[in-house]
Amino acid sequence: MPAFIVIIAIILSLTGLYGIVCNRNPLISVMSLVLIVNGAGLMLVNLDLILGIFHGQVLTIIILALAVFTAIFTSSLSRKFFREKNMADVDEFQRPQG
């Protein structure tokens, strides 16, 4: 069972990585980031339970909280871009001129 959880965590994280690299919609990129966090949390908790310690679970809770704050901020930023520029393609974001 621990090996199975490791495989699931790796596949989940790599799926999230693919989602960040290969998506143009910033909201879906943020959701892919949450996938990576879930995969990392699975791995941390798995190793915790194997070793009989609890620090990995504490770290998992902390990174889950950080993922929520990242999602909140990034989704607000995306809405601002949607509203002002009617555009939701990360490839179209350009550096400010001047």
């Binding site: 919609n25 949450v34 509203r83």
Partner: protein
């Protein structure tokens, strides 16, 4: 772990993976948000079945609804995203292939690491004292990171409130939009 725990772990982890695969191929952010709720809830049930009860409860009762609510709110009232529908550039296809190959290498390596040890690896027994240990750790060893996370939460809330403001009428006309946000 109980007798049903392996079944629960397998079923909900497969559900999470299915949701993840569908999510990264999704173009509609509303459907993607629903799939993310499925992935988070599945992972939460896996945590519970593994024996990490506190993390599982926090994932199910706090993280999943919060993420779902935030992303559903973010996808409300959005115009057509106006995203190009041309084929994904070759560099992204190459990235996907590279990630897949690396993932297979890592998985095969991890399986060999697990198989080379003496005897099957088992989880340590979990008891109620783990709740106490984790909560105590938040207030002792991990106090500094918790304070940092709290500060980041405050900063994130302030910036989000600032970004969520609607632009003033003068600025909207400058951007070529009418008072209601539509094109002039």
């Amino acid at each position: 772990m109980g007798t049903l725990a392996p079944v629960i772990i397998v079923v909900f982890s497969m559900l999470s993976l299915l949701g993840a695969f569908l999510l990264v191929r999704q173009r509609d952010p509303i459907t993607a948000a629903i799939l993310l709720i499925l992935v988070s809830a599945g992972t939460g049930f896996v945590f519970l079945a593994m024996g990490a009860h506190l993390v599982g409860i926090i994932q199910l009762l706090v993280f999943t609804p919060l993420i779902g609510f935030v992303l559903k709110y973010a996808t409300l009232e959005l115009p057509d995203p106006n995203i190009r529908r041309d084929p994904v550039p070759m560099v992204r296809v190459a990235a996907a292939i590279t990630i897949t190959v690396l993932g297979l290498i890592i998985i095969i390596d991890m399986i060999s690491v697990f198989k080379s040890g003496s005897g099957p690896i088992q989880y340590q027994p979990v008891g109620f004292t783990d709740f106490i240990n984790i909560v105590t750790a938040f207030l002792s060893d991990w106090l500094y990171p918790v304070i940092l996370v709290g500060m980041l939460a405050t900063i994130s809330a302030i910036l989000t409130a600032h970004l969520a403001r609607k632009p003033q009428a003068g600025k909207q006309e400058q951007n070529g939009l009418g008072p209601e946000g539509d094109s002039v």
